[in-house]
Symmetry: C2
Subunit: 283 residues, 2 copies
């Protein structure tokens, strides 16, 4: 069993009041952060997304200094792991209406991992991907947020229990391609242009997705965020997924369609992957 | 402060493991039940919806006998109150994939209320209703379920903090009228037909809604479940909301549009209201 460590509002405990709005309504946000050498990877990107999400939900923005101090406390002595931060609107009386002065709940949970399985070469662990039946509802107010309403992802991930697939692609209610159950999607089209679905109507604005977009543009690669369909996948030269903990995750197959892995822009992907899983030195 | 009583998996406690999937993903269901004379109202309807929701989410259906025993224990000596039942997929390791053998968490929370405010004549407390900007995403897989993913309702109810409105109507992503933030909607159209929005794409299948539909049909009233728009509201003779704890809730105004309350089918509504808030004798 992996070792867990947990802080709830700075206290070493692992329980929550049942009146917490995070439980009652999914009224909150979370971040999932890779830990290497006891330090978080892409810390500022996660903190920034958490802060922007808090503003959009009308939650007080948590203190970066306090989160850093707590993350440091949990990460101490941990070579490799995953830090999950949950921020909720806190305990409250019944009813959807948010309390005028919420007392947010801040949870940090660390799960240790064994390094070797993580650090395998990215080309060696290309994903077999299926297409999920479960659709994503369209709601531009919630799009992009890493909020706690994740039943669509749960139902999508419930569609297979065997090892036949590593990840599932999800379409929105209108049939557009959005993301994987726990990842963002990129395609390299016939002209070598990097494409990724817009996440203005559903889906999560992944920190790894943002890093890929930035680094690809900096490398002079043409990049387009647009509406994509499943037909774009089968026409693409290559495809990969991104996730803050996995990093770059090349796609080997989508259902019956196989990709030639050699056609991915490996130099760029290896570099971005290394950056995604590099512990912050100054944070 | 109202008195709270709480049972978690049958134990008198009020805390939850932070690894519970109810918190992490809103992976669960809830029921909100009126208590009168220490006994729940419409118990079987709530139990039935909970069981059907559990089947749809792939959760083990909780034992009715155990729920009854726990509800009895909490309700003992309580004249008037609200019982909330939360059922989650329980604690689990990270990841959307549901554990093959979940250990569900069952939470019962009772909040006492003072009877007078509740038992006022329904015509005396007609609602002023606004129209919310927050939309409901369309997802037929989740439609009807009283699940724990309620951020849309939270955002909708955040749109006003003053006493200018009692409830807000919500439209779906395509602009169709669906429900109130915490209620279902009924209209009496120009021909005296009772109409209510379909809840096949979003919204909750309210127990009070079902009771109104059944009793109206039994009374010989014509009833239609269909797609409705805001224009249907202003054309209607009258309108009312339903909620398991409030009962029948007539609408006085929707934004600037005022209804003549006298045009509602009061005999039927008073009868249904009484049934909704009548404690079960045999349960």
């Amino acid at each position: 069993m992996p070792r867990h460590r947990c802080l709830v509002n700075g206290e070493a405990r692992a329980d929550l009041d049942v009146s917490d709005r995070g439980l009652a309504y999914g009224d909150g946000l979370f971040e999932t952060i890779a830990i290497r050498a006891g330090r978080p990877c892409c810390w500022l990107a996660h903190l920034d997304r958490l802060a922007r999400g808090a503003v959009r939900l009308g939650l007080p923005v948590p203190s970066p200094a306090r989160l850093k101090q707590e993350a440091t406390r949990l990460g101490d002595g941990v070579e490799c792991g995953i830090l999950k931060i949950i921020l909720t609107r806190g305990p409250a009386a019944r009813g959807y209406r948010p309390p005028p002065e919420p007392k947010p709940t801040r949870i940090l949970m660390l799960t240790e991992q064994s390094p070797p399985s993580i650090e395998a070469r990215i080309s060696d662990r290309a994903a077999r991907v299926r297409v999920c039946q479960t659709r994503l509802g369209i709601n531009s107010q919630l799009a992009g947020l890493k909020h706690l309403n994740r039943l669509e992802q749960v139902l999508a991930r419930s569609e297979w229990a065997d090892a036949s697939a590593d990840e599932g692609l999800m379409l929105d209610a209108e049939g557009r391609l959005v993301c994987g159950t726990m990842s963002n999607l990129f395609l390299i089209d016939e002209d070598g242009v990097l494409q990724t679905p817009l996440i203005d109507r559903c889906g999560v604005a992944g920190t790894a997705r943002a890093r890929v977009l930035d680094d690809a543009r900096a490398a002079g690669l043409e990049v387009r965020e647009r509406r994509l369909a499943l037909t774009d996948v089968v026409r693409a030269r290559g495809a990969f997924l991104t996730n803050a903990v996995i990093g770059i995750w090349p796609i080997r197959t989508v259902e019956e369609h196989a990709f030639e892995l050699s056609r991915l822009p490996w130099t760029l992907l290896e570099r971005v992957h290394a950056r995604l899983l590099q512990p912050e030195l100054e944070w």
